[in-house]
Amino acid sequence: MSDALIHETAEALSRSVASGERSAVEVTLAFLAQIERTAGRLGTYLHKNPEEALAMARAVDERRARGAILGPLAGLPVALKDNLCVRGVPTTCGSRILERYRPPYDAHVVERLRDADAVLIGKTNCDEFAMGSSTENSAYFPTRNPWDLTRVPGGSSGGSAATVAAREAPLALGSDTGGSIRQPAAFCGIVGLKPTYGAVSRYGLVAFASSLDQIGPLARNARDAALLYNAICGQDARDMTSRSEAKPVSLDALERGAGRLRIGVPWELLGEGVDPEIHAALDKALAVFAAEGAKILDVKLPHAGYAIATYYLIAPAEASSNLARYDGVRYGVRAENDDLQTMYAKTRGQGFGREVRRRILLGTYALSAGYYDAYYLRAQRVRTLIRRDFAHALTGADAILLPTTPTPAFRLGEKLDDPLAMYLNDIFSIPASLAGAPALSFPAGFSAGDLPIGLQVVGRPFEEETLLRLARGWELGSDVTAKIPPLLAEADS
């Protein structure tokens, strides 16, 4: 029988630890027990950290015993996607090439979590170097969707989304380059926030595509996502792309819900290929928001149709350069050979999986002499147009509402041999990534087959609060009854 406390909100748990009602150790043990129960079947963790997690929890309890004021994440287990560096803890990015790699330093967000008295519970599975939409590209094992073990949890932060959905951790961090927080959040029925580019320091996030990567929270509700976002946001001198405009959000403000917000819907994007059930969920959400006083309007994103083509030039181009450092010379796996070029080729050929190799090749090609102007440079121009589309649409509207994905979670293996179909799954998440805009996916009901449906809101730069208000507004105004993944009921029976 699982401990009831794992179903509580992160906010309530941290309050109970801060007040002394519960100990951090008690909370940590409950989640560790849940990990023991379900993580094996789900494939959520690449590295579990039970001893260190308990040591951190004990330290939090001792600090409280000494009368210290605890941080906002007091005693809360937080799972970390395996592309976030933790000093001395394996960080593989789901890749063979970093199989035995342990970073000598903490990522900025990890420092912030330690400062907030969080408990680092483990490293979650992901698509190799965050490249993928199903977590099937992990070099180790796939992660499964807690709502249906035959389906994918989405990706690339699939482990982080699944572990939160399965109550193995109240909170998790993921990273989002083209939808890697939002899409798995949608597939697993939780909240996932991709902050504005520059809102959270990328220092210590293993780079995939530097101009797109952002770290963000995954949680079961809007307030918990805000709690975690507040702990990690803000400028950091070690990341020159991080910005001083990034500010924590007010949890009280979230209670205003959709209020008088103006919500734009890009109807012309929502044509074919969008599951009717997702359409229905969108209509329902609009009704909820309208009932709370929001104004609904039509917006246009004329260049959003070019987003996937643009993304698959820019992201692989940056990746081809970012992943050059995995050459077997200094760390990670090396395929020994007397000839340097052969050593490089074998190390990278054996160390990287198929999808990573594909993207390195794509990116190398896009940057090559004679092709640069036609591909990379043109893609950058289109990116500017897409950014302008959002800026323009968001002058009349405070937020844009659209689906997170065209369909609910698909089956394992379904798109594995069809990279294009896999890429198209990110059609609604990629435009906001290219624009650098904040975007959030919130759970907006279920399909007839009991699969979670996620909807996405996109806002103006550094207006994460608006997006969290809308997610909270849905929670307050919708009549959807809370469900728990069948896996949990099973495990308890």
Binding site: N83, L84, C85, T91, C93, L98, Y101, P103, P104, Y105, A107, R202, Y203, G204, L205, V206, A207, A209, S210, S211, A237, R238, D239, M240, T241, A317, E318, S320, S321, L323, A324, R325, D327, V329, R330, Y331, L340, Y344, T364, L367, S368, A369, Y372, Y376
Partner: protein, 496 residues
């Protein structure tokens, strides 16, 4: 790797008909305390891999943070050569694999460098010549690969990343250079500017200044450029000149033999005095430059640039012009004395103290520089400080002592801390200009040299100089030359 054979004898006869076209790419290490993108020390000579961190090791997740001081030094250089400082420049990644390049790319600048244009004035024979600059950009240095030979001749490669991330500026010249001698002068003057600005220590042997040369030849009168080759690994000024001479002769003899120049990159081998093919055009890297997404475009406030401009130290040519104007010394002297900023300062102090600028200049150019060269001392380390030299020059200028005695005093000052006047007294080097004393001296010499005296008296006036020499020797150089001669004449006349 094919070794280029030295050109056959006979190529020299054709050289006259060809013109050399040379452009230089110089990499200068900036004298910042920390690296360009991380706080690690840039100190030279530390134990391998002790000055490294996640950023310069290229560890996963690490990000670059631009060192403002490196930007300042690059801007100073750009202003000093009269270049246009870009208010917005962009860092770019230059992608290639090499074991001492930890990230698999070098952060450099590509299509939007920090500075464009500018000139360096050099000497070409007796004329001044203006060499244009294409650009100056900022970039990071790579590490160092060492290849120690182990047992049974097995070569292992070891990588030292202490140098990885040390800030560099690359200064690219137009192909305006027409000879090895011009290239040498260009480098010397560029180094001089960098050292005056105190942004680079200019040490080619330690690698803080490195040079690649682009060389092509064409028949005189031709305006189109010939096919060029690039020569790398030129680790001294002398080698730059040698390599250019080698490559020019090779290209000329190839053309004269009916061959064609192949565009390629050559590696200079200083021991053999030859260049070897490093890579052909076909093997040339496609560096796949693209804007560095981890760094925002570098935007410089025009007011900040202006502040640097107004605080710029005096440059070599400015000091040179000032010395000729203020002290009235010849341009040649000013040129020698402005070799370094400290030498110029040394000169100015000596000139002021002695009140005789030209004599001060002579003394520094001849005696001081000879003594320094012998001892291998920089002017800062030279034991005779400008106050003592100034006093010495003043004594010579006022004819208190002769130049000859002055040289003796100078030698003594190298070994002592005393001033010239004290040394004159202690070593009994006071000049003899007293009539009575000089005539007594003359009489002694006449008495000791009856043969030569007879010759002089027989009308062989050349022997008179011998007698003067003997008298001078006897006085240990202290006798006043003119007065001594007069005394000798009088005493000789008195013999009759």
């Amino acid at each position: 790797m094919t070794t280029r054979q030295a050109p056959p004898a006979g190529a020299a006869q054709h050289l006259e008909r060809y013109e050399q076209v040379i452009g230089l790419e110089v990499h200068a290490q900036l004298k910042t305390d920390s690296k360009i993108f991380c706080p690690c020390s840039t100190r030279f000579g530390a134990r391998p891999n002790t000055q490294v961190c996640p950023v310069c090791l290229g560890l996963p997740g690490a990000l670059p943070v631009l060192n403002e001081r490196a930007v300042r030094f690059a801007v100073m250089t750009g202003i000093a050569v009269g270049g246009r400082i870009s208010e917005r420049s962009v860092f770019a990644r230059k992608n290639y694999f090499y074991p001492d390049l930890p990230k698999g790319y070098q952060i450099s600048q590509y299509d939007r460098p920090l500075c464009e244009g500018g000139v360096i004035d050099i000497r070409s024979g007796s004329e001044w010549k203006r060499i244009g600059l294409v650009r100056i950009h900022l970039e990071e240095d790579a590490g160092k690969s060492l290849h120690p030979e182990g047992r049974e001749g097995v070569v292992t490669t070891r990588v030292d990343l202490n140098r990885a991330g040390v800030p560099l500026i690359e200064i690219v010249s137009e192909p305006d250079i027409r000879s090895g001698a011009e290239a040498y002068d260009y480098l010397m003057r560029l180094k001089q500017i960098l050292v005056y600005l105190d942004v680079c220590d200019g040490n080619m042997e330690e690698g803080s200044l490195r040079c690649d040369a682009n060389v092509s030849v064409r028949l005189r009168g031709e305006t189109a450029l010939g096919t060029k080759t690039e020569i790398k690994n030129l680790n001294s000024f002398r080698n730059v000149e040698r390599a250019i001479a080698f490559e020019t002769e090779r290209q000329v003899s190839l053309l004269e033999g009916g061959g064609r120049i192949v565009q390629e990159t050559l590696l200079w081998n200083a021991d053999k005095g030859t260049a070897e093919t490093m890579r052909s055009k076909e093997e040339a890297h496609d560096y796949r430059y693209f804007p560095e997404p981890d760094l925002l475009p570098l935007d410089l406030d025009p007011a900040w640039i202006d502040a640097i401009r107004s605080e710029l130290p005096e440059l070599p040519h400015q000091v040179r012009d000032r010395l000729t104007l203020e002290y009235g010394i010849p341009e040649y002297d000013a040129e020698v004395l402005t070799e370094t900023r400290s030498l110029a300062a040394y000169y100015e102090e000596v000139a002021r103290r002695s009140g005789n600028p030209k004599l001060s200049s002579n003394w520094i150019m001849v005696e001081v520089n000879a003594a320094r060269n012998k001892a291998g001392q920089a002017i800062e380390e030279f034991p005779v400080r400008p106050d003592r030299l100034g006093d010495l020059v003043a004594m010579i200028a006022s004819e208190r002592i002769s130049g000859k005695i002055g040289k003796q005093i100078f030698e003594l000052m190298l070994e002592s801390l005393d001033g010239p006047e004290a040394l004159v007294q202690r070593h009994g080097l006071m000049p003899i200009d007293d009539e009575t004393a000089l005539r007594a001296l003359a009489r002694e010499v006449i008495a000791a040299n009856p043969g030569p005296v007879a010759e002089v008296r027989a009308g062989k006036d050349r022997t008179f100089a011998f007698l003067v020499g003997q008298a001078m020797k006897q006085s240990r150089g202290r006798a006043h030359p003119e007065k001594l001669q007069a005394a000798l004449r009088r005493e000789l006349e008195a013999l009759t």
